[in-house]
Symmetry: C2
DNA sequence: TTGTAAGCGTTATCAG
DNA sequence: CTGATAACGCTTACAA
């Protein structure tokens, strides 16, 4: 295919090993030869062969990305491009390549990961999801293969590098935010119940409700597997409740958007009749009408820090296990309003 | 790191080369030894080392993905996850890995590609964009490196494998669709003017307008670099025109969504006052209110076929250059209506 | 500071 | 049908 280290060596009148050293910027090499070799490289258009390098050095300088299985349409969630952008950024600057692994089913995905790992294609992995009892996670832990998780591990928190938001606090905070606005009947619409993020946020929500001495209604809690369709059905059911909620916490912008639509269809106005608040702060929250109040979880940072953490681990294997918490920020737009009893049929107290 | 071909050979009492043959499913090998070797592999948990394999066979079995530079927020466009899903599907089934290349600037991106190519990291590339005078494209053409483009090449159409929609016809068709609905003042809001897709669609639009003997107003044609913000400004300008359009063709769903919002804000109702039709048929078109009429360009297929085309090229280098056209389909939702003069101040004729 | 030579884990070319 | 053996392009002791 191309020009090899030997060609360069010949051209520069040095040994191949010297060229290798120049490429690696080895300190004990004279400036003179460095110059000479670099010129030769330039002239011949030399580029190191990564396969050979990997083979010899037993490191591929590439990071593997593991997506959740793409059976549902979760993939269309802008979350992924954005984390990837963050990971790319740091990877690029540290000269790591990025390899993706996807699969339609969990088994396919697992297979892909095993091949990547055992085949030596990647030095480490970043898991772009966190769910309970995950085969991939178990496999990696068992093999003691370097990886970092975006999200909170369900078990072994202290043994798994991860970068996450404080989802518990975030959910608690926005619930309190709604309570402060006078809402007492607040519903929670979460994603798949086996995603850790759902669990955490639900916990924060519950805590806030309880702490405010409000009653926790089971009917107000919905967790749906499918990102969109589920949310929409859930919304209708919630609205059909005899004592329907006046505010909705939705754990994903896309889902919230879907809910917004059905609400409109059945004549429920946001934010007048129902307040809506969601997570992720994707581009669409700005575009939506009304623009959605949403929790900015800093997806880009999530990715960037995950990448950084992994690379550090790879380059200094004795680096301690880390837990990195990315701050969140509530971005207020126009989907939340104060509770006004007057607009509701089933009036309670409250002015 | 792990168990190698030699370990397996020893365990099965054969030569390493025999193991290699078994892995490759070489025909001239007895069933007996195949069995024996396979058992040994199973027992030892053998997985071939890809780096070594690549080095020896001079093929990496991986496909590189080249994204557009991520300076604007184009990356948040659901187009990308979806093409990637398509590419993944075929890649997975043919046992190819996927390597991503991104960069913030064009230069960074170009660098990444060169490293991938010259470093032997990938056997071929898929470009997920098509723009005029692209450095990456030129480089690949010059080196005669296998690649396929998603979209239509600006030049050398016959020499570049590509998969595309017939964007000219698509645009023409939807323009005619609007004309049939009675619209005579139809505006075109496209993306960056140096993306080939913008050029093609604009051409189709123009053709339809001219063929219907309507006048082509320059003020009705807008091309904006930035995906969202641009579109929104454009919409306001269009609406401020003395003779404002009654229908808008927007070349991207996200953009259309943004436009939809500003239209609402300035009191212009879609579809009553203005009809809106867009491209891509992303999930958000269903969620939007009103749901958007959009052209389904079958993004998944675009990716799948691009992957297939590349792999075929890689495995049979004498495969002729291909041009694959994926059919589109207009998906009617609720953002288009018949033109009704009554709702407009500046009444023309037309019933 | 630089050169020599032995791998890294495969595949491929010959023999047999 | 199977076994030696030489690459593949690079890194890295070990020498010099």
């Amino acid at each position: 295919m191309g020009v090899t280290i030997k060609d360069v060596a010949r051209a520069a009148n040095v040994a191949p090993s010297t060229v290798s050293r120049v490429v690696a910027n080895h300190p004990r090499i004279s400036e003179k030869t460095k110059q000479r070799v670099r010129e030769a490289m330039e002239q011949l258009g030399y580029h190191p062969n990564y396969q050979a390098r990997s083979l010899a050095s037993k490191s591929s300088q590439t990071i593997g990305l593991v997506m959740p299985d793409s059976t549902d349409r979760i993939f269309q969630n802008p979350f992924f491009p954005e984390v990837i952008r963050g990971i790319s950024k740091i990877a690029h600057s540290r000269e790591y390549a990025i390899c993706m692994s996807t699969g339609e089913t969990e088994a396919e995905l697992y297979d892909g990961v095993v091949r990547m790992v055992q085949g030596g294609r990647v030095d480490g992995l970043i898991l772009l999801y966190s769910k309970i009892n995950d085969r991939v996670t178990n496999y990696l832990k068992e093999r003691d293969f370097p990886f970092v998780m975006v999200g909170k591990p369900h078990t072994d928190m202290d043994a798994i590098n991860h970068v996450d938001n404080d989802n518990y606090s975030a959910a608690k905070e926005i619930t309190e935010y709604l309570i402060k606005k006078g809402h007492e009947r607040i519903a929670f619409v979460g994603g798949s119940p086996d995603m850790v993020v759902t669990i955490d946020r639900l916990e924060g929500y519950k805590q806030a409700i309880t702490q405010a001495s409000l009653t926790l209604h089971d009917e107000y809690i919905v967790r749906e597997k499918v990102l969109r369709e589920g949310g929409e059905e859930a919304a209708i059911e919630l609205m059909n409740l005899p004592n329907r909620p006046t505010a909705l916490i939705v754990t994903d912008d896309m889902m919230a958007l879907g809910i917004l639509r059905v609400l409109n269809e059945i004549g429920v106005n946001v934010p007048k009749d129902v307040s809506l608040i969601s997570f992720n702060n994707a581009l669409i929250t700005e575009i939506s009408q009304p623009p959605l109040t949403s929790v900015d979880i800093q997806i880009f940072q999530l990715g960037y820090q995950a990448g950084k953490c992994l690379i550090e681990k790879l380059e200094q294997p004795d680096e301690p296990t880390k837990r990195i918490i990315i701050p969140f920020k509530l971005v207020e737009r126009n989907s939340c309003d104060n509770y006004r009893a007057s607009t509701q049929k089933d009036v309670k107290k409250k002015k």
